[in-house]
């Protein structure tokens, strides 16, 4: 049983993500979905349970948390680790080792378990989770779903009674989510208590027994899954939640009036003698919004990097407005908004940021573009201090002022709640007919809201290119 007793918490240096006087009891074996807008406090609750608050993220805390008899608030993290296992969202940062076997052993090694013990635990976990075939491999060469399985396995090996998952599907494609679902179902059958903080809800409707929604650091509602299912989509949207049924997400996209054509020629690229991309010719209407989909590792990011002119050995060309563009010119015409926007913010204020690398002729347009993108109130703010969406818009503003014709987005909505996903969709829609936009994404809800075409890449070749 998990008991959260009158807990309030405020981060040391930030005012967001704080919670106020939360009291919650979760009985053994229950599976709880924590939902709510970004910054509403759901991640904070998961951190209270796994002890990262107050032991890693420091701040002002009142109240206490007891997990299966252990006072998490007072115990050291390595004590809590025996009872509470945690899975996170980012595959880049949640692994400590390079190979899968060591990763599964990592937690047990930290506990100082004898070698034979660890090996038998690994055997047990790999058998249960059906991941024997993944052993002895390089984690960073696995697909997104496989990575998340290793993360789950590594936690399983410690045999905790409570599992905490913090937005585990943010970086996963649809198949991978199905795989994760199976794992969570197995945990549930074996009687573990599971807490999942999530934005994507549909995969959890058969798994979770209880839904807790947070807002502004307080519990907004706490109901059974049955009750939650009976809410209408409008009611859920009002709480800032994504739809519970993926199929409801289909929407029509407004008119698209482009007739000019952008031609990609000879888009092929090999890495270490292995062909990772091979698109001889592709015609795309100028001004369209193309969703680039496909499994993790299918060649989407290579495609984006080639199109941006970032791969030096790339020989393909783009035909735009009768002009043939090679790698070097592409660098001038294309701009990628990266998944981690922090990589591309350099200056001290938003105003300076958008003017860096600007085409001098556009000096007069700065104010107008900032207004169009709802950034005029933030011109003097530090770009890094903005929210995720505002950072994205800043990056777009700088691309507009640099006269970029083609914009690429890498997973712009991963980890976004309903409201922010919808904002991003509106923003992308507003670029329609002005710029040609490519969006690499796994998010069907985003695609249904703004994309005019879908380009599916599998194994480096075009699997499908259709207009919607």
């Amino acid at each position: 049983m998990i008991e959260i007793k009158n807990v309030s918490f405020r981060h040391e240096n930030a005012d967001e993500g704080s919670i106020h006087d939360i009291t919650l009891t979760i009985p053994d074996g229950q599976c709880v979905l924590l939902c709510g807008e970004s910054g509403s406090g759901k991640t904070t609750i998961t951190r209270l349970i796994n002890g990262l608050i107050p032991h890693y993220y420091e701040g002002e805390m009142h109240g206490e948390v007891i997990a299966n008899g252990l006072n998490v608030t007072k115990s050291e993290l390595y004590e809590t680790a025996k009872k509470v296992g945690s899975v996170f969202q980012n595959p880049r940062s949640q692994f400590f080792c390079v190979d899968t076997t060591s990763e599964l052993a990592f937690g047990c090694e930290n506990m100082g378990l004898p070698e034979a013990d660890i090996l038998s635990r690994i055997d047990k976990v790999t058998a249960e989770m059906n991941i024997k075939s993944l052993m002895g491999q390089n984690i960073f060469e696995l697909s997104g779903g496989e990575k998340q399985k290793i993360a789950c396995g590594s936690v399983s090996a410690l045999q905790p009674e409570i599992m905490v998952l913090d937005e585990p599907t943010s970086n996963l494609d649809l198949n991978a989510i199905e795989e994760l679902k199976e794992t969570v179902q197995k945990w549930k059958q074996s009687g573990k208590t599971i807490i999942i903080a999530e934005h994507r809800l549909y995969w959890l409707r058969e798994i979770c027994d209880r839904v807790i929604c947070t807002q502004n650091g307080r519990i907004e509602f706490d109901m059974t899954m049955e009750e939650f299912k009976s809410l209408s989509d409008e009611e859920r949207n009002a709480y800032g939640l994504r739809p519970l049924f993926a199929e409801n997400a289909v929407q029509t996209v407004g008119n698209f009036s482009g007739t000019d054509i952008l031609t990609l020629n000879n888009f092929s690229f090999s890495y270490d003698k292995k062909e990772v991309l091979n698109i001889p010719k592709l015609e795309i209407p100028v001004g369209s919004i193309v969703a680039v989909t496909g499994h993790n590792g299918a060649g989407k990011s290579t495609f984006s990097r080639c199109l941006c002119g970032l791969e030096k050995r790339f020989k393909g060309t783009v035909l735009l407005n009768g002009e043939t563009l090679k790698s070097r010119q592409l660098l001038k015409k294309c701009y990628m908004v990266m998944q981690d926007v922090n990589h591309q913010l350099f200056c001290e204020t938003v105003e300076e940021e958008v003017q860096l690398g600007m085409n001098e002729e556009n000096a007069g347009k700065v104010q107008k573009i900032l207004e169009e993108l709802d950034l005029d109130g933030f011109a003097q703010r530090h770009p890094m201090s903005l929210s995720g969406g505002q950072k994205q818009r800043t990056a777009i503003a700088s691309a507009m002022l640099a006269d970029k014709e083609i914009l690429l987005f890498d997973e712009p909505t991963s980890g976004l709640d309903f409201k922010h996903m919808e904002q991003t969709a509106k923003l992308l829609s507003s670029l329609k007919n002005k710029k040609t936009v490519f969006v690499a994404t796994h998010d069907p809800e985003l695609i249904s809201r703004c994309c005019t075409h879908i380009l599916r890449i599998e194994n480096g070749v075009i699997d499908e290119f259709t207009s919607r």
Partner: protein
Amino acid sequence: MGRSILQASVTDRGLVLDPRTKILLLLNMAIFVLGSAGGGRVQALTPLFCAMPAVLLLSAKKWRTAITYIILFSVSYVGYAVFGDITTGFLHYFLLSCCGILARFLPSIMMGGYLVSTTTVSEFTAAMLKMKLSEKIIIPLSVMFRFFPTVFDEAASINAAMKMRGIHLGGKNAGKILEYRIVPLMTCCVKIGEELSAAALTRGLGGEVRRTNICNIGFKVQDFIFITVSIVPYVLWILDIVGI
């Protein structure tokens, strides 16, 4: 995303050496090739040392790196001998120092590359455990070892972003170039570092018990061969010092 070249491969890795052997070899490289210690007889052996990274890279099936190294090293080595005679003046100085410096640093860089690219984090940790180091050193060192590729990946992404924005060295941005590079690099690394810490801590890293390790490291025949070879320069050095 392509795999970073600094990341160790775990399948199909060819000849495996104990990490301790690799560290010893790297140290030797640093002392005798880079540091030119050991007196005349040892220095006569340097070409042999310089061949070692090539052999090791080949043994680890890093074909492309090995061949690049062999070509670069031979060119600079031969170049040093040839240019010394046929050029004069500034060109002479320039070519000589280029070749000389390359020939001197390349072997150590390759050896370092070999160490990092063929050793997994947990093998490295296991080696340090066997060397009976304190946890207070082992944990930071293994985190550092784990984090190096991340820092390079982040730097590469920032570099790509700068290219797309057309920010180059020089021009009116010259004074800012450091800020543009270091600030986002630090911000991104620190954020990823936070996530890495959280994931490691919730799996009990830093507990009071001594860590165990399931990694199967240990000295094998090949290790003894390389260790024996590594001892030779020390013996010659001692002989040199006592004057034999």
